[in-house]
Symmetry: C2
Subunit: 207 residues, 2 copies
């Protein structure tokens, strides 16, 4: 059975926990400290705090990009053999006008460079507004999750989780494609912020 | 009444001619030479060849990005007061793996730099697969046209054309946002090429 550790208890962390629950995965949720986080506790998840052993084969970093260094401090050398899922949109929220990564790169590629060899990064979920993951639909179609990565087996594992949850998984290519996924995630959040789309919908990919 | 000159007779040029016709605009279509182009001639358009005077207030460059230098040779100094619409997706079609502009820029910004002061560039239509413009719908919703630019009046003129044609116009911000629009256009074309979406559909923005 798939097992997943979700680091972070915000909106996206909670939405991905719901995705994992629908897929029947074993779920571990890592909080900053016991009892922290605004989301109600799930009966179907185990809880831990930052620094605890990660039990999931998949590890989701559901924290803002700025918090990655802190997460890496705890876990950088304890991720061997795991698949790390980067969901971040590194928007400068003071201006809503640029991204916090080099223009020719992405958080996913930067994260991959910061991790030891043997830890695989897959970019996924960053073009999904949280509610479309919780409900499983976006408009009239199942929610599509775009993802990218360099390791075929890791991509199969991530796609399997997504599909088992009733969502549509679409492989967009190598990890370098995270640059375009992050550009699209940026656009979507900007458009939601100015009311051109809703946080319950956003972009969808028609079949 | 809006007037538009469309340089190029390919799929996108033809689709934008259809958009302009639905909006009741005066249409000029510029071909490489008389009789050139695979599209049937429109009864509601005037035709010219590259080098002819442009009659439209809006000028659409509906040619591949690689052909821009040739267009600029003809028209660079004859665009004063006009609004130039850049629709290009500068994909390297030999690899389908990267864009032909600097990572921190866009064709729209590069074009703007290559034009004299006083010529306004608006990025638009590059995230629309042609058929969604011709038909006016994408899935269950009117086709959304994302655009970006720095000149408010130019953006109003472009949005007016789009809306008069029954489509939805969505302002995504300054011309620098063309970088993200081109990243999204790139993703969409890659996904259509590998069959993850159809050339009749692609991405849509839900309200």
């Amino acid at each position: 059975m798939t097992s997943i550790s979700i680091i972070g208890t915000g909106k996206m962390g909670s939405a991905i926990a719901e995705v994992a629950a629908r897929a029947g995965a074993n779920i571990q949720i890592i909080r900053r400290r016991a009892g922290a986080g605004s989301a109600p506790e799930r009966a179907d998840a185990e809880y831990g705090v930052a620094g605890d052993e990660l039990t999931g084969d998949l590890v989701v970093l559901a924290v803002p990009y700025e918090a990655y260094p802190n997460i890496l401090e705890h876990y950088r050398d304890r991720l061997s053999g795991k698949i790390v899922i980067d969901i971040s949109n590194p928007i400068d929220f003071t201006t809503y006008d640029e991204l916090l990564v080099p223009a020719d790169s992405s958080t996913a590629v930067e994260l991959s460079k910061a991790l030891p060899a043997g830890v695989t990064v897959v970019k996924a979920f960053n073009v999904n507004l949280g509610d479309t993951l919780s409900t499983g639909t976006n408009g009239t179609t199942p929610t599509t999750v775009l993802f990218a990565g360099d390791d075929p087996e890791a991509k199969i594992a991530v796609a399997a989780l997504i599909e088992a949850s009733g969502l549509r998984a679409v492989d967009t290519g190598p990890l370098s494609r995270a640059r375009e996924l992050e550009a699209m995630g940026f656009l979507q959040i900007v458009l939601a912020a100015i009311g051109k789309t809703h946080y319950e919908s956003g972009f969808t990919l028609l079949p």
